[in-house]
Symmetry: C2
Subunit: 334 residues, 2 copies
């Protein structure tokens, strides 16, 4: 099909093929204000098709001064929590004809900054930060600096999860959700609670623990990584130490699922011997057996909402709160 010079077909090629000027070709292809005569439109369209032309987004971006991509930074795209958020973000992006460039930091705050600056180079319309906020002052400061430069240059950014970054934020009422859950479990008659807390520098984890502690008397804590295996190990240690707990609260669902595995390995029946509850309501929470009691957060909505915020500029950073709802399932049946 293509002959001669290599590399992608350019608009100039199309114009030549159609026997019109570059300007006319451009006007046809990008549907500008000025619509050339029907016959020319036809010729150009045909030529473009014949050559398999695809506009060069980079050139367009540079000429127009805006791109049509948004950046998304998550901690781990394989984690259902983040992949659900990503689904919401991509869905809303698509609705606006935008492409999403994804970065997965694997939880390391330094990488978050690196990725932010890599994304910044793409001059995205907006950047959504969905990585978990950690108490890591140095990284946080670098992040803020980078973010400021980005916004000074006309970029827009939003965060999902904790507020505190001085940008549009969709925050989760972690403490409140955990408190409600704690209350519900107390109402169910549980008394000897064990809590599997996440990393101490992870604000989400800390807030959930605190909220829960406000409503339910906690017999013991055990820290663990924010992952399935973290939950499993933490539960194992905790149950070894305090075998007579009657309910375990893991600060997120993936930990809770790990905890279920551990509890069963130690011979507990769930929920008869030990109840377990989580937080987030990731898709597999409802499929676990017994189905996991948790605090439902509409994760896709979080993603969609962050996109919406970031695409409707405002003078001041806004913070929206998503509240979770307690979902009692079989893992805490009495």
């Amino acid at each position: 099909m293509r002959t001669g010079k290599s590399g992608p077909v350019t608009l100039a090629d199309v114009a030549r093929e159609a026997g019109v000027s570059l300007a006319t070709a451009s006007r046809v292809i990008n549907g500008s204000e000025r619509r050339p005569a029907p016959e020319l439109v036809e010729r150009v369209t045909r030529a473009a098709e014949r050559l398999g032309y695809s506009v060069n987004a980079a050139a367009q971006a540079i000429a127009r001064g805006v791109t049509s991509v948004v950046g998304l930074i998550v901690s781990d795209i394989a984690d259902p929590y983040f992949s659900s958020i990503a689904a919401g973000v991509t869905e809303e992006a698509e609705r606006h004809g935008l492409l999403v460039t994804l970065a997965s930091t694997k939880g390391r705050p330094e990488r978050e900054v690196d990725y932010l600056s890599a994304l910044r180079r793409q001059r995205p319309l907006a950047i959504v930060l969905a990585g978990s906020r950690r108490d890591h002052p140095a990284a946080e400061r670098r992040l803020a600096t980078e973010l400021r430069s980005f916004r000074d240059g006309g970029g827009r950014a939003a965060a999902i999860s904790q507020p505190g970054l001085d940008i549009d934020t969709v925050a989760v009422r972690n403490a409140e959700g955990a408190a409600e859950l704690g209350q519900a479990l107390v109402n169910l008659g549980y008394r000897r609670f064990g809590v599997l807390t996440g990393p101490p520098d992870l604000r989400t984890a800390v807030d959930r623990t605190a909220g829960f502690a406000g409503c339910a008397a906690i017999a013991d804590f055990q820290r663990g990584a924010f992952t399935r295996d973290g939950g499993r190990q933490a539960a194992r240690q905790l149950l070894r130490r305090k075998p007579d707990l009657d309910c375990l609260f893991a600060v997120n669902d993936v930990m809770a699922i790990g905890a279920m595995v551990a509890a069963r390995e130690l011979g507990y029946r769930i929920p008869e011997d030990l109840a377990i509850a989580g937080f987030d309501d990731i898709p597999s929470a409802g499929d676990a057996f017994p189905a996991l009691t948790t605090v439902r957060i509409d994760l896709e909505a979080l993603g969609r909402e962050a996109m919406r915020l970031v695409l409707t500029p405002a003078a001041e950073p806004r913070v929206e709160y998503a509240t979770g709802t307690v979902v009692l399932r079989a893992s805490t049946k009495r």
Copy 2:
């Protein structure tokens, strides 16, 4: 910090600030062959930092003729199967300093083409197609055309899953894996098999069904969507029709998990009354209760391998096969 004109800081701004020419600034920033004198490097670096400069990737792409992004098309990023693949792709991309632009088609073949052409505009170094191949001749033809233009223009592409697209492919030995699983289940003593097949136009689903059927006598089939709910509904219908099956094979894990839910709703104990097996070994398969027997595919490796293939150009399209290994777990314990 910034004064005067708006928009992001440009290299020209940096050069002016540092009192050097554009050329020198460029040489310092992008680390070209020619290293300017230390003093100038210092001045430029300082100026860039002071201004919060971030190179414009689009301009760079256009000047250099290559970008540093790769495109990834999946069916549904919220599905653990695809998010695991995405994790592999992003991991390998990062290792090469590349950014990943993600598109989620929600299973509609037409959208796959749309996204492909949208991605093509970004002139990515490579595009990885991880959407499921369907028998949808029209869409497939458009896809092939688009793909050809992309490659004619110097782009590289790879597919994950089925071969047949005339590009580098990482394929899964679906039939073989399913056959091995069938054999293993027969060895375990199961005899009355029910199969939950996916959509009839989905090659992956068809191949797995066929492979399984080659080794195990199938009492009945039931078609269903390739999702959790599809599995649940299909299982429900099938079990209503043939209540005395002793083992259900769902052509993927998410369907199998849905089937578990349905079976339990109908009063079956698993695995005592009914065994269940899936395919893929998504992360939650091992966490299900009872843990799900399945065919393990290293999904992240699929993603990594596809990236590797696509980044090491070859004259002819290559096809690599990933073979699954049967993992017997509690859901088929005898």
